[in-house]
Amino acid sequence: MIIYRYDGSFEGFLCAVAACREEGGNQPEFVRDRDDYAVGLFAADVREVLSVRETAMAFRKLFVGIASQDAFAVARYAFHSQKPGIEELLWKYLKLGLEVGPNLARMLAQEPVHTVNRIARQVSHEAHKFKGFVRFSEVAEGFLYARIEPQADVLPLIASHFTERVGDRPWMIHDIRRSQAALCDLKSWRLVKDIELVAEPGVSANEQQFAGLWQRYFQRLAIAERHNPELQQKHVPLRYRKHLTEFNSTSKPFEQEAI
């Protein structure tokens, strides 16, 4: 059995898949270079795979040509779930896709297509939610900073959305669970690994004011006669609330005075 060790990125994984195909590997295992423990004492044969953009792009082109663009997107989303064993599952999926071509999309009720699609869907749901759940604070002159803790690694999936949207300020979205951040300098974004903040970022003078206004607005907008916290929790699970400005209000709702 051969173990392929790659850098943890999707690009790196595609390179590992390409390497395995070249060697005619059958039941490969994949490990990220961060979790060394996974390569146990009994590790047979470990291949270090370098992440080479051209190799990854070439595999992508091959797969899209034979299977389809959509099937490739499904693999990409599923990969970002970072679930244990996802690489081996995707290996089967990609291999099958290269065998059956466009039929892959019609095998929804069969394995591994079914599981890969289900996982991809979960990730895509979470990524969509986070397009709404990112909360920027304005720090030092105009720089925007947001903190997230998603379950899946959605940051690479949503960064381009924010690059388009917030085109007039530099920003950073920090996934504190994975110690990584997307940084955007007005034009394009890049992923930076191993980020730790040494100090709480100081916010701009306006920040408290707008956060406060938003919190009051949020509390005020609920209609008391339709009170339904279960439904609210279904849409905004508690695990997401830590970094949502509107759920972390320090001020009490404003009491309306007679005027």
């Binding site: 009720a109 909360r135 509107e246």
Partner: protein, 415 residues
Amino acid sequence: MFSLPLEQRLEILADSAKYDVSCSSSGSNRAGKAGMLGSTASSGICHTWTADGRCISLLKILLTNACIYDCAYCLNRRSNDIPRAAFTPDEVVELTVNFYRRNYIEGLFLSTGVIRSADYTMEQVVAVVRRLREVEGFNGYIHLKLVPGADPLLIAQAGRYADRVSINIELPSRQSLALLAPDKPREAVITPMRQVSGLIVESKAARKSTQLIVGATPESDREIITLTEGLYRRLELKRVYYSAFVPVSSDNRLPMLPTPPLLREHRLYQADWLLRFYGFSAHELLDENRPNLDMRFDPKSDWALRHLELFPVEVNRAEYEVLLRVPGIGVRSAQRIVQARRGTRLGEIELKKLGVVLKRARYFLTAGGRYLGGITLDGPRLVERLLAPARRPARLDQLELFAAMPDVSAMTGEL
């Protein structure tokens, strides 16, 4: 009206706007521009949910809650003793841009009470969006409420700046409107929508929607759904919203309801979805003998129970349009079935794998010739089965309709 601090005015004007149900930010797909703020996503994006479980997508506020009209159902009617406030256009612009940049919102939904005259009021609203678009270069979503009776030129302007415009019809029939909103003739509501209809055809201008209040007046569901169908087909509206009447006043022209008719509102939304995404017509759902929706079932189950001769259908062969009419099968399930059956024969296990919920659907399906219901298909027994398991309370069911989904939602009707 401007004397209070900004945060108090924000609360007053949010209070006054919150009964308007529309908050959708879907249907526009505009890429961001380099160096500018804003883009729109065709699926729409919800940013948070309030304690009543409704999504917040847009900053929904009034420019002012002062109003020269005295509509009985409205919180902001002239004779109601509530605090009044107003924003300056600059304040609205600043709030919008700052909330948007922090990713609190998808954009602005600006409505207003009517002050001085319809034209004057509409001018104020247009001033806000002009500033947002032209001075701030704001490229996010904007939904504007049109003022009934405003000059067609102003309405045309509003339609060009906004992604969506709406006028609330509020009351489904002319009689009710005359009784509860004596100052607003229905023509003043319909005409601007017609006009914007024309605009849409000639340019890529705004989409339109409206809102109907449910339970304040005696109209039947049939009248409401038939009106809705007309609005979709003839005025090309994008959405009709229904708002369960919350008694915001003790006006004696209005019924006293202990709680808002939320279940009825929910059933109306289900019927509305059937019109827009499932190929149903209003007359199939309701007729003279059955003027109201059955509160026990969703309208599709109700329709299927009256048309048992059409069922069961074979899941491996039935046309897409037929699958859509099976209770419990939604747009997404139907699409998956059609796709997956090209690859393999579908049985019960495969259906479950596809994520098709069989709870209701099984009674209306065969898979590979085998009936999945396990009972004889007859009306009374089926009614019993469909009602039997202690269903989740309607309140929880209610908003599954609004579950936010990724990008295909604009096609499948989810959101």
